[in-house]
Each structure stands twice: as structure tokens, then as C-alpha cells.
């Protein structure tokens, strides 16, 4: 391999270090120290940078070009072969205790420009400022686990203050790093283009070109003006108390219904899945009632629940209940029977199996069900409010139409969408919190 090497001019190359995961949060003076011990080299396409078993001395950062990095099978990486590009760091075997030898084969796919840092010297610089050193090593740990998928090796990373272990994969680090990558990608701009197209079309179609059917619709400027005005023409804006009253009303109803549906639906679903007898007795009746659309219940609900408020909550509850119970049941049924068998082998009683295997095992499905259930609640609530409610966002949309307050219709719709999204996200976050094990498993195993 022909390498043309020259010393790194510190300030020139600092931004390259800042693009990499391990060095992203290091201060400039520290970076200069590191840069002073690195040098640049260029390689042709096809050049072999190192092979498995070679002495591991340097760490590599790609400035430009592509490198194929293939970990040897004994390392048991989930994704042994990676294609690395600018900003990627490899050659970290130089930082491991037991492996002064290379674990992978690195070949240039295109002509590349690389920054090489001697591992020992890097460690010495990091030791001179141990706090930063710890951070850098933990970021190496995250990178090795997440991108190279070899979590077993991070126990061998040379520690600065202390040994690294898998608890050091810091979620926040990872989140911020991924966010910085996302911000640099085209994705946010495409998103803006999408919204611009949509809103632009709305504006033009209604207010500028005045297309045939669009003429009657409320225009985007009217809606925005109304929504944010201190003295709205039609009485509802973010400055009026009434607006929040309606939101609160709808949210309160959904909360009640959702709560009831969860408290009744989850245990019901768990038993349906766990006990065949229970299912044989109760599932047929359940399945008979389920296909009846929620709104078909409206008249009956009005008859059964003398107060309209209860009728509305009942309808919202129904939809939610069916979704929750069904998904919970499916969750229990999809638990691999090896788990229950293993538990009974190990001495667990039937009740212990239920508590330690069935309930946690079904939890992911339960939460998916709960998310669906929240969405379904909003669906039913709006319909119920439109038909027979007082107050609430569905009611607002309905009456705004009859009273010819068109901009308020749109305000109602947008508010509905936002509130619905927030409630759904809250359920999802609750699920993530309760199932840490799944979040970590997914993070390490995602494609």
C-alpha cells in the first residue's frame, strides 16, 4: 500500500474530529493535542489497510472515501461487515487490553484519505485529562456496541478512571449524536418541503387561485389569524378560555374511558389468553359484540344511560375496551411456550408463572394495544360528541359548521390532531419506560 503521509495541521482538521462519535464533545485545546499526534495518509482503491491478526497500533478516521470493514467470525458481531465513510472511526482494537492484534480486515473500496492516531499516544493524552478521557472512552464503547455490534468487547476497553462496562452506553450521548446526524442529513429539509407543498397548495387553492370547490373552504390565513387573535370573530382562539375548556372536556372524557378500558380490558385479555377454559366460555360472546360499529351503539347508549355524558364515555370506552382486550389476548398467546416451560421447570407455581412470565411477556403487545386504544378512543369520542355532546372538540367542529363559523372547524380539527398525537405519544413513552429491556434490545439489534 502506498501511503503518502503528512502531519496534520491542527486547526485545519479539527472539524473532522468533531464529526466523529468518539471525539464530538471534546474541547478544542484537547483536540489540538490529539491532532498533534496524528497524521494524514492517502490510499488507493483496493489497498489493504490491515488484516486480522496484524499488530493493532493506530486508530483510523475517514476523511473521504469508503472502506470495507469485516470483523472476523470469532468476534460474533451481529453485523460483521460494514461499509464505512467520511466521519467513521475504526481500528479501535488499538484501545483494547487483550487484543493488541487486529480483529478485522479493512480494505479501501475507493481512494481514501485517512487520519491515523497512535493508540498508545491517544490514551496518554486522554489520561492527562481523565474526565474528558472517560467521556471519550464511553463514546467509543457506545460506538463499538451500536455500530460494530460487539458488546462483549467493551469490557476490554482500556479504562481511564475506571473500567468500561455495558452500563456505560449512555442513551443521551447516543440520542444527541444521532440527532446531529439527522440534522445534517437531507431529511429535515425534505420534511419542510413536504409541509411547504401542502400548506402552499392550501393557500393558493383557496385564496389566490380561488379554485371552484376550494373557494368555499376557509383559507389558511383566515384560520391562522383567527386562531392566534386576541379577539376572535367566532369566539375561539388560543387566547379564549372557552377553547381550553373544550380541550379539557374532551381530554377528560378520553381519560376516563381509556382508564376504565385499560383496567377492565387488560386483565380480561390476560385471562383470555392464559386460560383455555376462560376463553372458550367468554370469547364467543366477545367476538359477537365486537364487529358492531361503536356508533351503531349510539341510540342504545342514549337509551341505556340516561345522562348524555355517561353515554359519550360509554361509547368511547367500548371501542377502547375491545382493542385493549384483543391485543392483550394476542400478546399472551404469542408468548413462546419455552418461557412458561422453563419457568415451571425452575419451580414456579402457576400463579408465579403468570406474574413473572405472562404479564411481562405480554407487555409489549399490551402497549401496542393501548396505543391503538387511545387512537380508537379519540375516534369514538369525536363521533359521540358530534352526535350528542355538549362541550368538547367534536361538539365544536359540529356546531361551527351549523353556525357557519368555518375557520373554527379547522381550528378544531388541528387541535384534535395535536392532542390525539400527544396522548398517543404519552402512552408510547410510558411503555418505553416500563420496558427498558425492550428498548435496549431493539437499539442493539435494529437494522
Amino acid at each position: 500500500m502506498e501511503a503518502t503521509a503528512k502531519r496534520v495541521i491542527p486547526d485545519d482538521m479539527l472539524h473532522i474530529f468533531k464529526r466523529t462519535m468518539p471525539f464530538q464533545v471534546v474541547s478544542d485545546p484537547m483536540l489540538r493535542k490529539i491532532a498533534a499526534r496524528s497524521w494524514r495518509a492517502s490510499y488507493d482503491a483496493g489497498a489493504l489497510l490491515y488484516d486480522v491478526g496484524d499488530k493493532a497500533d493506530d486508530i483510523f478516521i475517514i476523511v473521504s472515501g469508503k472502506v470495507e470493514h469485516a470483523l472476523e467470525p470469532g468476534v460474533k458481531a451481529r453485523r460483521p461487515v460494514l461499509s464505512l465513510g467520511p466521519g467513521d472511526v475504526f481500528g479501535w482494537a488499538a484501545l483494547l487490553e487483550k487484543y493488541p492484534a487486529r480483529l478485522a480486515k479493512a480494505v479501501c473500496i475507493e481512494p481514501v484519505e485517512i487520519i491515523r492516531i497512535n493508540g498508545e499516544e491517544l490514551l496518554r493524552v486522554l489520561e492527562s485529562e481523565p474526565d474528558t478521557g472517560d467521556v471519550v472512552m464511553s463514546r467509543f464503547a457506545t460506538m463499538i456496541t451500536r455500530d460494530y455490534t460487539v458488546p462483549d468487547l467493551i469490557a476490554q476497553l482500556r479504562g481511564i478512571h475506571r473500567q468500561m462496562h455495558s452500563g456505560d452506553i449512555q442513551g443521551m450521548n447516543l440520542t444527541l449524536y444521532r440527532f446531529s446526524l439527522w440534522a445534517r442529513s437531507p431529511r429535515p429539509y425534505l420534511m419542510l418541503i413536504g409541509f411547504a407543498l401542502f400548506l402552499g397548495f392550501w393557500y393558493l387553492a383557496v385564496e389566490v387561485w380561488k379554485l371552484p370547490r376550494f373557494r368555499e373552504m376557509p383559507g389558511i390565513t383566515t384560520v391562522v389569524k383567527e386562531w392566534f387573535s386576541k379577539d376572535p370573530t367566532y369566539g375561539l382562539s388560543i387566547y379564549t378560555g372557552e377553547y381550553y375548556q373544550h380541550i379539557a372536556m374532551s381530554v377528560w372524557r378520553v381519560t376516563q374511558a381509556f382508564f376504565l378500558a385499560t383496567v377492565l380490558g387488560v386483565p380480561f385479555g390476560l385471562f383470555l389468553g392464559w386460560s383455555r377454559t376462560f376463553k372458550e366460555f367468554l370469547f364467543p360472546a366477545f367476538e359477537m359484540l365486537r364487529p358492531i360499529p361503536i356508533l351503531a351503539w349510539v341510540p342504545l347508549a342514549i337509551v341505556m344511560f340516561v345522562a348524555t355524558e355517561s353515554a359519550v364515555i360509554y361509547l368511547t370506552f367500548l371501542a377502547s375496551f375491545f382493542a385493549t382486550a384483543l391485543n392483550t389476548m394476542l400478546g399472551v398467546e404469542s408468548i413462546d411456550e419455552s418461557y412458561t416451560r422453563a419457568a415451571s421447570c425452575l419451580g414456579a407455581s402457576k400463579w408465579q408463572v403468570f406474574r413473572h412470565v405472562i404479564v411481562p411477556g405480554a407487555l409489549p403487545f399490551v402497549f401496542t394495544g393501548l396505543q391503538i386504544s387511545v387512537g380508537v378512543s379519540w375516534f369514538s369520542l369525536v363521533a359521540a360528541e358530534m352526535v350528542s355532546g355538549q362541550y368538547g372538540l367534536g361538539y365544536v367542529i359540529n356546531t361551527s359548521y351549523t353556525m357557519v363559523r368555518y375557520p373554527t372547524i379547522v381550528i378544531g380539527m388541528i387541535t384534535l390532531g395535536a392532542v390525539g398525537y400527544v396522548t398517543s405519544a404519552m402512552v408510547r413513552m410510558a411503555g418505553d419506560y416500563m420496558m427498558q429491556w425492550r428498548v435496549r434490545e431493539l437499539a442493539l439489534g435494529s437494522q
Partner: protein
């Protein structure tokens, strides 16, 4: 848990449960009491003591009994208007559903296959999705010239979201190795699309349509009730089973309400089964050995 075997005991138990349900219903209705006969009295007292408002407990006594419902049903079977409602609702469901598939599947595939399209289209889609389809009803009525078209649009929306999400999810979850295998055998991009992406997404499309069908029924019934006179919105009758139910309520014949409800349940069940068979026909490779 292994799949349950379908044997005579489970069938018997199922029948018992349905029978029990009907019997309880009958007793509850005939007694004309809160929560049915006085055997529920203590339950009502207990719930009341726990702080539940009386109005939270359904007044089963007001619900017509199964026997009365059956009688009303026998009466209505001879009425042509009843079957016309069946036809109207089924037609709307089919139309809205087909439209959602025709537009949703290509849209979803486009999003899944082209990264730029996804970046532009998906965020807007996701922002609009939490708005319940029924919230679009007034806007739809303003926009579309006829009532039929406004109902159709709302119906379309309901199924559209589900189908697109399922298509996108399905396309993305196709194992990458299929692509690699195809490319190593020299397939063109169009070939890959036709022979890998399309069939690979089919199972998700099938699942998406099953769920979408359920939602479509919900929306159709709701739209029929709302525009048929359920609220102040809407003009003349639109027909359909939703309207049938509402009409029965307004007309005071409660037994017919229940007839209508069960009819819709049956109709929904039939359409789901049709879809499921169609799905099996289209994806024979999923038949388990």
C-alpha cells in the same frame, strides 16, 4: 401458547356462553330495573356505595329483550326498505374501500421505495393522521357538491391511513437478503419491484385491509347517522343501515335499533371473512404446513 384445537367441548362451551348471554339479557330487559333483575340489586348498591353515579350504570331495563328483537326482525325481513339499507351501506363500504386501496397502495409503495418521496410525503401524512376521519365531515360537506360524495370521502380517509401505514411497514420489513439475491441474479429495478417488493408487501396489505375494513364500516355507519339526521348537519335521508338505526330511534321502535345493530355486525363479519378468503387466495405461500 399453541393454537387451540377446535373440538366439541370448545364448541359446546361457546354455545353455552352465548346462550347464557342471551338469557341474562332477557332477564335484564324484562325486569325493567337498573342493571336488570333484583339479583343485581346488591351490585348496584355496592357500586353506589363506591361512589359511582347512578347514571354510570346502564339501565338494562330500557333495552328491549332478545325475544322482542327477534319478533321485530321477523317483521322487518319482509320490508324492502330494510334490504335497501343493506345495499346502500355495503355499496358505500365497498366504494370507499376500493378507492382507498386504489390510491393507498400505490401511494404507500411510492413512499416505501423512494427515499425522497418518503422524506417529503410521510411527515405530512403522519401529521394529518391523528385527526379522526369524522372530524373531516363538516369540511367534506362544504367541499364536495353532493352528500354522497362527502360520505365517500370520509369513508375513503378512514381506510386510507391504515392501508398506507401497513404498506409502508410491510415493504420496509422485507428481508434485505431477498434484494441481494435478486441483484446477484441480475434483476433490473423494475423486476425487483415486481417480483420482490410487490409480493413481499402483499401480506401486510392483506392485514391492512382487514383492519381498514373494520374502520370503513365504523365510518360509514357514523356518517350515515350524522348526515341522516343524527345531528343538525345534513339534509335529506341518505339511506343505509346507520340511518335505519337512527330512524328507528327517532321513531321510538327500540327493538328495531337492536335489529339494525346486529345486522351491521353481521354485515361487517361477512365482509371481513370475504377479505380473509381473498387474502388467502392471493398469498398461498402463507398457508401453514
Amino acid at each position: 401458547m399453541a393454537a387451540q384445537k377446535f373440538n366439541t367441548t370448545s364448541l359446546a362451551r361457546g354455545l353455552v356462553s352465548i346462550l347464557l348471554f342471551l338469557v341474562l339479557w332477557e332477564i335484564g330487559s324484562r325486569s325493567k330495573h337498573w342493571l336488570g333483575a333484583d339479583i343485581f340489586g346488591p351490585l348496584r348498591e355496592a357500586l353506589g356505595a363506591m361512589g359511582f353515579k347512578k347514571t354510570y350504570i346502564p339501565w338494562i331495563g330500557a333495552v328491549p329483550a332478545p325475544t322482542e328483537v327477534l319478533r321485530a326482525w321477523v317483521d322487518v325481513i319482509g320490508d324492502a326498505g330494510y334490504w335497501h339499507s343493506w345495499y346502500m351501506s355495503s355499496f358505500r363500504v365497498a366504494a370507499g374501500f376500493v378507492a382507498a386501496m386504489l390510491i393507498g397502495i400505490p401511494f404507500g409503495l411510492m413512499l416505501a421505495v423512494n427515499r425522497t418521496a418518503f422524506g417529503i410525503g410521510f411527515p405530512v401524512f403522519e401529521v394529518l393522521r391523528p385527526i379522526p376521519p369524522l372530524a373531516w365531515v363538516p369540511a367534506s360537506i362544504i367541499f364536495w357538491p353532493t352528500q354522497e360524495m362527502s360520505i365517500a370521502f370520509v369513508t375513503f380517509l378512514g381506510a386510507f391511513y391504515t392501508i398506507v401505514i401497513n404498506v409502508v411497514g410491510g415493504a420496509r420489513s422485507i428481508d434485505g437478503r431477498y434484494f441481494q439475491a435478486a441483484q446477484s441474479m441480475g434483476s433490473s429495478r423494475w423486476d425487483i419491484f415486481r417480483r420482490i417488493i410487490l409480493p413481499g408487501t402483499l401480506p401486510s396489505i392483506v392485514v391492512g385491509s382487514a383492519v381498514g375494513m373494520g374502520i370503513t364500516w365504523e365510518v360509514v355507519v357514523a356518517a350515515e347517522m350524522i348526515s341522516g339526521g343524527g345531528s343538525q348537519i345534513g339534509g335529506t335521508s341518505g339511506g343505509g343501515l346507520g340511518f335505519f338505526i337512527w330512524n328507528s330511534y327517532v321513531g321510538g321502535s327500540y327493538e328495531q335499533i337492536v335489529v339494525g345493530m346486529i345486522s351491521i355486525g353481521i354485515a361487517g363479519f361477512i365482509s371481513s371473512e370475504l377479505l380473509r378468503s381473498l387474502g388467502k387466495y392471493v398469498t398461498p405461500w402463507l398457508r401453514l404446513r
